[in-house]
């Protein structure tokens, strides 16, 4: 089971959490990124995500390594990011991490999504209902 994955298929949070399964796990925290129906007051038609998949999976794995180095109580990290065309309400990314007890999972979770947005080569194109587009790489 891959802990760090770029996929074109819909993502189930339960399924990502199951990848962390171990009898030592007592606490799991997840971050789920969802396609919003509105950005800047414009209605979203769909989003198109594009990745450099080989490097994206490598940098996701790097984020996992960074977390293990910083927070010794984190047992496992899994990050699955979807690419392709996503509709409003669909899940773009699930980050899940596990520990025996909860204290460090929240900081580690925040770190994971912040780092993902900094270093993982994935790009997003918003297509609005009025036909206009905006690309993440053009700045927000």
């Amino acid at each position: 089971m891959k802990l760090f994955e770029i996929t074109t298929k819909p993502i189930s949070t339960d399924e990502v959490i199951a990848r962390l399964n171990a009898p030592t796990v007592g606490a799991v925290a997840t971050f789920v990124g969802v396609v919003r129906g509105e950005t800047d007051g414009r209605e979203v038609c769909y989003l198109e995500y594009e990745a450099y998949p080989e490097m994206a999976e490598k940098t996701l794995r790097q984020i996992g390594d960074e977390i293990h180095a910083r927070w010794r109580t984190i047992q496992e990290v899994a990050i699955v990011h979807r690419v392709g065309r996503l509709q409003v309400g669909e899940t773009a990314v699930v980050i899940a991490l596990s520990a025996a007890h909860r204290p460090e999972v929240f900081d580690a979770l925040r770190y994971a999504i912040d780092r993902l947005k900094e270093i993982v080569p994935i790009w997003r194109k918003e297509v609005w209902m009025d036909g206009a587009e905006r690309r993440s790489e053009a700045g927000e």
């Binding site: 594009e50 993902l116 947005k117 900094e118 080569p121 994935i122 053009a138």
Partner: protein, 86 residues
């Protein structure tokens, strides 16, 4: 060139990929060419890429590198506009 020519793959994504009309090209460059020099050659040969120059980070063999990095034969070079996942 004293060390001859090398060949690198160059990959493009998102807006630069669409501007160029392809996601991948091969470049024959002098051995010892740096990433920064390769960027210069690309901008010269493909004017469509010029608007993106300032914003592009470069990865070689799937790791971010600086502009001084020297390229080797067979390297996979990627031109990465600012990322926007999540």
């Amino acid at each position: 060139m004293e060390n001859g020519e090398i060949t690198v793959r160059v990959r493009f994504f998102a807006a630069p990929r669409e501007a160029l009309g392809t996601g991948e090209i091969e470049m024959e460059i002098p051995a010892g060419t740096t990433v920064g020099e390769l960027m210069g050659l690309l901008m010269e040969r493909y004017p469509a890429l010029r608007p993106y120059t300032r914003f592009i980070s470069v990865a070689v063999n799937r790791a971010y590198v600086g502009m001084q990095t020297e390229l080797r034969d067979g390297d996979e070079v990627a031109c990465l506009p600012p990322v926007g996942g999540g």
